[in-house]
Symmetry: C2
Subunit: 380 residues, 2 copies
């Protein structure tokens, strides 16, 4: 168990119809002019937009809207929204969507204070200045609603980089699980796989952090159980709610306490996959790659991989645990090979080169270019 700092000042309002308090909350923090940032428009179908707008009106909050943030959000779109926010004199940013929307909103919130927002991503200094950020979550998975980082892609330079800092913690995030009842099934699964990947990125680092390991096992087991239940009834409120809250806890600091900086080698590989095949959903990619990474790394810490297999999958050894996970992902209808995601053998070298250039060399086992190639081949 390594020394750690835990700090997370985001307030969560969780449950049915919590968004009716949104306007009052924004007002109570002294904000009056908001830029509302949205994605493809599903928030207009699931009831979220209506509740949000009514609440803003009731509290006499002025707002403008900017829609169209896509998965793997791009810096060009962020720049466009920063101009809008400045012209409107926005004094707060409101994200209405999932991780991509929230990450874009965070970038806008910080970007209004600087000349060139991408420079923040290049410099990687902690972000200390940003407009107050509020979020209404409509897809669980990334935990951007309760952490202080944001990932954005620069399409021109093919860099998918991040910013981080205390000013990027949302002031208040509203999580109403009902909005997620109408999600396409695959998005529920991708969100769950993303959350599970956040947990495993810390889990294998140190077996002495008993409290956090045990919590991480709980979170993983809860996520799996809830996805199984939702497969039978996607509108089951309590399963949605438990899945949403477990996904938030999976990357808000709780899952990493005492486990250092985690091991994000696999994240680097997945980002490289999506650089070459932009349509690969992040969660699906993480699921596929984890199976290969775990097979490749399990000998580096057999006791901990065996523990994972036993506590999460009820299996006696790591290899059986990995097979159980593969079967479960398949039962959820998600990919277990890169080929299913449209990645071919011919792509591997390019993906590996991009991944290696990110220099996320891992912690559980050191992962360099030949290792990345081996993992990608296993995942094919």
């Amino acid at each position: 168990m390594l020394n750690f700092e835990y700090y997370n000042p985001t307030k969560i309002q969780f449950g049915k119809e919590v968004c009716t308090r949104l306007g009052r909350t924004i007002q109570s923090m002294g904000c009056h002019k908001v830029i509302l940032i949205g994605g493809g428009g599903s928030a207009k179908k699931n009831g979220a937009y209506e509740q949000v707008v009514t609440s803003l009106q009731n509290s006499k909050i002025e707002w403008i809207e900017s829609w169209g943030v896509q998965a793997n959000p791009e810096i060009e779109k962020v720049r466009e929204m920063i101009t809008l926010a400045k012209d409107f004199n926005a004094d707060a940013v409101l994200a209405l969507g999932g991780g991509s929307v929230i990450d874009s909103a965070k970038s806008v919130a910080a970007g209004v204070f600087v000349q060139d927002v991408w420079k923040l991503f290049l410099d990687l200094n902690p972000i200390e200045d940003a407009l107050p950020i509020f979020t209404v979550l409509t897809i669980s998975g990334t935990c951007s609603e309760m952490n202080s980082s944001a990932v954005v892609t620069n399409a021109e330079t093919r860099q998918k980089w991040h910013i981080k800092g205390p000013a990027l913690f949302p002031k208040v995030s509203f999580i109403d699980p009902i909005f997620q009842a109408s999600l396409p099934w695959r998005q529920t699964v991708y969100g769950a796989l993303d959350a599970m990947s956040h947990i495993t990125e810390f889990y294998f680092v140190d077996e002495r952090a008993e409290t956090t390991l045990s919590i991480n096992e709980s979170l993983c087991n809860t996520i799996i159980k809830m996805v199984d239940r939702l497969k039978n009834d996607q509108e089951d409120y309590y399963s949605r709610a438990s899945l949403a809250w477990a996904s938030t806890l999976a990357f808000n600091g709780t899952s990493g306490a005492g486990l250092g900086a985690g091991d994000f080698a696999l994240h680097g590989i997945e980002h490289a996959v999506s650089a070459v095949q932009p349509d690969v959903p992040h969660g699906a990619g993480m699921g596929v790659l984890f199976l290969a990474w775990a097979t490749y790394c399990m000998d580096a810490n057999p006791r901990l991989f065996d523990r994972w297999a036993k506590q999460i999958w009820g299996e006696d050894d790591a290899r059986s645990g990995i097979e159980a996970m593969r079967a479960r992902i398949r039962s959820w209808g998600s990919a277990v090979t890169l080929r299913e995601l449209g990645v071919q053998e011919a792509d591997i070298d390019e993906v590996a080169q991009i991944a290696a250039s990110a220099k996320r060399e891992g912690f559980v086992k050191r992962i360099l270019l030949p290792d990345i190639q081996a993992i990608l081949k296993m995942a094919l």
Copy 2:
């Protein structure tokens, strides 16, 4: 799973020698004159005081000291310390100790802003104004280091009441498990039983809050496992560290998310016991009383009590789970009956009357005067 708000802005610095950063931290928050509040003086033996004072000196923080806070801290002592703090023009409060010391420090931090500090306890309005609070934890159990409430006793009126509010969250709490290696064994056990009681005060409220129930099972299991390990080696750092962190998570909001306001009927009974027998350690009292309360209440929600027995104690039904817990507490050398704590049959009526007057009627099962009497008799 009920709607909930989660908010906890306390920063935790956890691990070996984290207190060397104390002075710098206080300074970075613009504070320069600190009242240091301590207990019986064990902090001078376990190394905490020395580290704290060196760090304050290095950062040129001025301080005065006030020692002698006891278990079940009293408002008279708090008043005395408020006068000291005002005379010194303290701009921050530093608690060096366990729950009683931290609760006293919180009361001082709020008390300097009002005419009569006890009025805050009578009014129960959320505390919005207080000096910045810093804590150096030397006994885990109460979680006062990471929550926004404080319990203090008015000996004159025999009221053991609390205050609560956002200004009472410590700004930063420093948890170095090494300071706890020299605790008397019984205090380790009492702290663990206190932490376990915080978890069970939420656990039985709602079986639909799967994420939180599962985390609470993890926390309980971790606490039990760590106490077992410490019984063999009280200086084992990683067991101390895991126990300390699990105890903090047991009452910082995590264990109650989605479980409403919990069920604090038993807390009311324990406070009444300690009103009649002030020497009863809170954790020991909670352990004894829980065994009786669970036996009395298990039929109110058999499925959840059976789940608790299975997940925590590996037993098939609630009754066997309770017996397993009784055996475990005994194996740790702590009391399993009120008589062992010095409470006699003749005391029961008085204790029951005091407990009933607190009007904490419970949630899992409604607990009125006859129920309190029955529980106390079972616990004898």
